[in-house]
Amino acid sequence: MDRQTAGELPLAAPPRVTTATAGARRWRSLREALTGYGFAAPYLLLFTVFLAAPIVASLVISFTDFSLGAIDDPADARFVGLQNYRDLAADEKFRSAAVNTAYFVAAGVPLTMAAGLAAAVGLNSQVVRFRALFRVGYYTPVVMSIVAIAVVWRYLLDVDVGLLNNALEAVGLPRVAWLSTPGLAMPSIILIAVWRNLGFAMVIFLAGLQGIPQETSEAARIDGAGRWQEFRHVTLPLLRPTLAFVAVVTSAGYLQLFEEPFVMTGGGPVDRTISVAMHMYEQGFGFFNLGYAGAIAYVLFVAILVLTVLQLRLFRSAT
């Protein structure tokens, strides 16, 4: 029975009881709603100030010539319409950044997924020993700071003192300037990213593989499917939602490439590793062209949205 409100008469006539309980019910649901909003309030406050408002403000700023002076006096900024976006189209460095980032995503995402899937399938089969050890080994780079990883790899790949080149020399091969040769810098960064992130994909794929019932694979075997056929026609289709999730998350992360070129190459050689996020950082916080940086950020945001939608479509329509 509903709790009675304080003013309710204990011996009221039947019709009055129903209206009173209806009132009590309304009061209760109103109170529950207020409680709900109360619980949501701290999150919503932070969300509004630090996420929702900046998302809108970023768009507004991208239509202005907001610069360092405008921080002290926002009235200083003038609306310039689409000028920042027109400048972007003509900006050689932005074009390099966009090409490099696209290259990083287009090569890095499939490689990361393939490596993660291979690791997961390997760990999921019964033949591999020390499975826990492998799982930890693959996952360890994921928890490490990208800055630290970039610093260490920059040293390992160094042309004069790097351990990799020392090893190459020891077996009679020439030393290679991995990070300062235009054609090699981005592939090096991609391989490092694959090594760092495959553990994340692996963990998700492992969970997905363990969700596939044993019977399906047994049925495939009975029907005479080989291991590869079973993987291609049974496992992969069943993993489609997992593949979609990993593709979306990895792509969104890779499109924001920043730390590796920032620490390892400074965007060089000859702008071959500068990324969109790095160009935005330089424009916004190096030159304080904040309006222009806002425009770059929005282009990146839209690119992530479009790629996400495309990938979800792709993985769905392939069913």
Partner: protein, 247 residues
């Protein structure tokens, strides 16, 4: 990296390279902490990551509880709104947040480093999923006994969410500890640098810092989280698998 961090710079340059340090030296660490003030950066990182984690645990759980256990108009829309921001890139908020922090005179302060990350959509999602499994009868029993809603949340629901809180806590701490671009933007004063900013700043110094010291700096940045990961790794993989399967 760890081995290299104990080598002298002469040994690091030696060819063929040595595997184990010949004469282990703590000099690289000494210069980190004596010349470069890494103790301060470490403290900054720990304070920021610690407070960000606590804030996320409380705020995300509160909203998660409301979304899972209370009914109010707009609940579904609110959940959709929160989830819709999961993939928003940090680059989009960078410029306005920097302007905001500058206007509030908060550049180079702890609030600037902490507040923007005090509550994230991932935590809300995780806590809502977990709170939904708490039986309503348990909460209703408490309501009949006249317990307030916050009491039920704090004393009944939260203690039942131990594993989810552990997962969220670890993942949040890790993300905050490794966070780079925002601390890079909002700290200009060396005293407020977090570890990744300090290390990157040092590593990109045009005066070519010594590799041994760089390796030691990387070790200081990586080892704490590596230790946490190795001890608590089941919470990592479970938490990530949880989001992956249900996401």
């Amino acid at each position: 990296m760890l081995l290299s961090s104990f080598k002298t710079n002469e040994e690091l340059a030696a060819r063929p390279p040595t595997w184990l340090p010949n004469e282990p030296t703590g000099a690289n660490y000494a210069s980190l902490f004596e010349q470069l003030d890494f103790a301060r950066y470490f403290t900054n990182s720990a304070v920021v990551a610690g407070l960000v984690t606590v804030a996320n645990l409380v705020f995300c759980s509160m909203l998660g509880y409301a979304l899972a256990k209370l009914s109010f108009p707009g609940r579904r829309a609110l959940f959709g709104l929160v989830m819709g921001t999961l993939l928003v890139p940090s680059a989009v908020t960078l410029v306005p947040m920097f302007v905001l922090m500058s206007r509030l005179n908060l550049v180079n302060t702890f609030p600037a480093l902490i507040l923007p990350f005090a509550a994230g959509p991932f935590g809300v999602f995780l806590m809502r999923q977990f709170m939904r499994q708490i039986p309503d009868e348990l909460l209703d029993a408490g309501r009949v006994d006249g317990a307030g809603e916050f009491y039920l949340f704090w004393r009944v629901a939260m203690p039942l969410c131990g594993p989810a809180l552990a997962t969220l806590g670890i993942l949040t701490f890790l993300a905050s500890w490794n966070n780079f671009i925002w601390p890079l933007v909002v700290t200009t004063d060396q005293e407020m640098f977090t570890l990744p900013v300090a290390l990157a700043n040092f590593a990109t110094d045009p005066n070519h810092p010594e590799p041994g010291v760089l390796m030691a700096g990387s070790a200081v940045l990586v080892l704490p989280v590596l230790a946490v990961f190795l001890v608590l790794q089941r919470f990592f993989t479970r938490g990530i698998a949880m989001t992956g399967l249900k996401g």
